[in-house]
């Protein structure tokens, strides 16, 4: 598995650390209540197919990336900088 880092180009999976579902970017309001926070921290769609997830280019440029990846085939469809995704409000 290779991830095409926007800064560094295609790099081996060994350079990256997986964080999990990219919903981590949509942090709820601190006062949103326990149900919303439980959903955010614990519950997952866990799809068999395309999913958006956070990867960290740990031994490369140290950028956080939003990777759109298929959990059935391991194909990677898109790689974006998490900062850009967050900035665009996506």
């Amino acid at each position: 598995m290779r991830i095409n880092c926007p800064h560094c180009g295609p790099r081996d999976r060994r350079e990256f650390t997986y964080q999990g579902d990219a919903l981590a970017l949509d942090r709820p309001d601190p006062e949103a209540g326990p149900d919303v926070w439980n959903d955010y921290i614990h519950n997952r769609d866990n799809p068999a197919g395309p999913t958006r997830e956070l990867w960290y280019h740990e031994t490369g440029c140290a950028a956080w990336l939003v990777v759109t990846r298929d959990t059935v085939t391991h194909d990677i469809h898109a790689v974006e900088l998490a900062s850009a995704v967050k900035g665009a409000g996506k």
Binding site: Y18, D21, I41, H42, T71
Partner: protein
């Protein structure tokens, strides 16, 4: 048909013409008293104990593929009861007791072999932790023996004791631990359930769960609608998809866990051995292959195959511990889809929908749990109350933070176990 040594001899002398299929291949009925979704180890044992312990024989197991085609046929076959936390301890202790009577109970050779497990340690701190775990096991009524370096050397002379980075200080020996023939466990439970009247329906994928006024009324499948007032979801790595049919999101991420086997060798590894400084566990099958595994790949996956970095890591750990295995040729590697929960422990519980029950979150350790998981899931489905040894496997423990079962002490969030 009962199996016995006499029967084998008689069949051997008469051309093996008297064997019959181990279970029927029934058409699904339009209604059952209960449905178990998932024909793997846990689903089949659930059906078996529903019939045997609770007299519920008008039930069906719905399997989208073939019986035992998922994780129960894709694991490293280890059976043990060496947990530390209350909640896990009594559950796995119960499971090991069921293993010890399983072959007689099922009249089926599951090749349960109590060859002993040795968890190695490589520092003073790890020795303290092993002693503490061993005491917890003894308090639970199971067996544990703390071995020093020479004690380990007598049993496992082939290890690299003087490894400069990870010298071996000793090991925690669990004599009643061991292995079993994984497929046979599924087949034995399937046969036992079938003999008691359970319909095992293969090639039958559940496509919807029918719910009316907060109560489950049945399921939609690729072989038509089937009504039932009780439905158990026992689908391991596919829990997310099945629960979504009932409008639920679960605290589960599905990850791939790889396993490996070498060519067949003469007997060389007599126990189950685990490395204390890297995730690596190994045993030798009766066919002679060295069967081993390590960590999950650490990314969400349904692929049933992993990537090279994890394979390298596992093999490096193995070579560090027992350099001799470098002489063996690897035959196969494969992956299973683990239902990873935030705290690394399972869930056997009701849901907010009446009559809908959940069995999931087995992480790395589902195989040894097969007997007790089915025992407790059957108890839950039949009586609507949790069994005492699975009483802490609550779905709401993540939300409330009460009763978390974080065996490794790493935290209760995804991707930590």
């Amino acid at each position: 048909m009962r199996f016995s040594a006499l029967k084998i001899i008689r069949e051997g002398l008469t051309g093996n013409k008297g064997w019959t299929p181990h279970w029927r291949d029934p058409e699904p009925k339009s209604e059952y008293d209960a449905i178990v979704i998932g024909g793997g180890g846990h689903g089949l044992s659930t059906a078996y104990y529903l019939a045997k312990n609770h007299g519920m024989t008008n039930i069906a197991v719905l399997e989208k593929g073939y019986l035992g085609g998922g994780n129960v046929g894709r694991n490293t076959t280890i059976v043990r009861a060496n947990y530390f936390l209350p909640g896990n301890s009594e559950f796995y202790s119960h499971s090991l007791k069921l293993w010890e009577g399983l072959e007689e109970d099922l009249n089926y050779n599951v090749m349960h072999s109590q060859r002993g497990i040795i968890n190695l340690f490589h520092s003073d701190g790890q020795r303290d932790a092993a002693a503490r775990r061993g005491n917890a096991m003894i308090n639970q009524g199971d067996d544990a023996i703390l071995l020093d370096r020479e004690g380990v050397r007598k049993m496992l002379p082939y290890l690299d004791f003087d490894n400069a980075r990870f010298p071996i200080y000793g090991g925690l020996y669990h004599p009643r631990g061991g292995t079993a023939r994984h497929d046979a466990v599924a087949w034995g439970y399937a046969r036992g359930a079938d003999q008691r009247g359970v319909d095992l329906i293969q090639n039958c994928e559940v496509t919807g769960i029918d719910i009316e006024n907060g109560k489950v009324t049945g399921v939609q499948t690729t072989r038509g609608a089937i009504r039932a007032k009780k439905v158990g979801m026992v689908v391991a790595g596919r829990s997310g998809q099945v629960a979504a049919m009932a409008g639920m999101r679960l605290p589960i991420e599905s990850h791939v866990l790889q396993a490996f086997v070498t060519e067949g060798l003469k007997p060389v590894i007599d126990h189950v051995v685990t490395f204390g400084m890297g995730h690596f566990y190994i045993s030798q099958s009766d066919k002679g292959g060295l069967v081993f595994g390590g960590d999950i790949d650490f990314y969400a996956s349904y692929a049933q195959r992993g990537n090279l970095p994890t394979a390298e890591h596992v093999i490096e750990a193995g070579m560090t511990l027992m350099p001799m295995i470098g002489k063996a040729k690897m035959l196969r590697s494969w992956g299973g889809i683990m239902d990873m929960s935030p705290d690394g422990s399972p869930i056997i519980d009701r849901t907010h929908i009446e009559g809908l029950y959940l069995n999931t979150g087995w992480c790395y350790g589902g195989f040894k749990a097969v007997p007790a998981s089915g025992w407790c899931m059957a108890h839950l489905m039949a009586t609507d109350t949790p069994h005492e040894v699975a009483a802490r496997y609550r779905l709401d423990r993540f939300e409330t933070g009460r009763g978390l079962l974080d065996e490794e002490g790493t935290g209760s969030q995804h991707n930590l176990h």
